[in-house]
Symmetry: C2
Subunit: 126 residues, 2 copies
DNA sequence: ACTACTGTATTACGACATCAATACAGTCTC
DNA sequence: GAGACTGTATTGATGTCGTAATACAGTAGT
């Protein structure tokens, strides 16, 4: 599932790992209850320190994607699709608010932002 | 114009200063060609090191908001409203792309994002 | 219970960002 | 051109983040 990771990237190693796993889980490639590779195993495979993998797993746990059980392993969390949808809606709102805050600081108006959204996403998307 | 700045805030001092000035300029409170307070003057007023103010001013200069002239002072830049609008449009696009990137990493779909945008901004805004 | 695997916690180190201190160089007014 | 103001450049102390090293604690199959 994993091939490599780039130490020279500005995105931290643990974030790269977490990102990959996040989309793997979100896309259904990794099914609920499925075990993730062990911390040491993945660390060896990526030639990275185990603690770095731990940090990635911990982030995913905080976000509700996985569950870490000491001595047993790390597993994709079983969640009702409904509550997962709600969670993603919450994250989406957080992202939008963050963008609005930054826009305010830069003096970018909501109208300009909406124009940019229409441009980047496409107007008639549904 | 300036009252205070919070050293305990997670946002760096120079960023706080730059933010305040940015919206002051963007809102027209500070007119083009108007002088900003001198580095030392503002530093003394905010009880901050002059170099911190310099960093804020330099950021604003990189963004095209102000112009620093050695020996003379720092002034709000005179720009054609048109090109300023284009600049803000560029920044708006950058903000949107950044949000889309993060959404992708979190496994949040564009649909969910659009729903959040409608919620936060309001659907029929124009 | 032993053994070999899991995750956990603590500590340390390097890189980088933030902020400060100080000396330097240009501009303006008189 | 003297003096008092501007911004500029260099250097260093401090804190935080990312990563690693190492020892600890729980789980599971035998």
């Amino acid at each position: 599932m994993f091939d490599q990771v780039d130490p020279r990237s500005p995105t931290p190693l643990y974030a790269q790992i977490a990102n990959r796993l996040r989309i793997a889980i979100a896309s259904g490639e990794l099914r609920p209850t499925a075990p993730l590779p062990s911390v040491r195993q993945l660390a060896a495979q990526l030639r990275v320190n185990p603690a770095t993998v731990v940090q990635a797993y911990r982030d995913l746990e905080d976000e509700g994607f996985v569950e870490m059980r000491q001595g047993a392993g790390t597993f994709v969390r079983e969640v009702a699709p409904e509550s997962r949808g709600r969670e993603r809606a919450r994250q989406a709102s957080a992202l939008v608010r963050k963008m609005l805050t930054e826009a305010g600081r830069l003096g970018v108006s909501i109208q300009e932002l909406q124009a940019a959204i229409a441009e980047e996403i496409g107007v008639g998307t549904s």
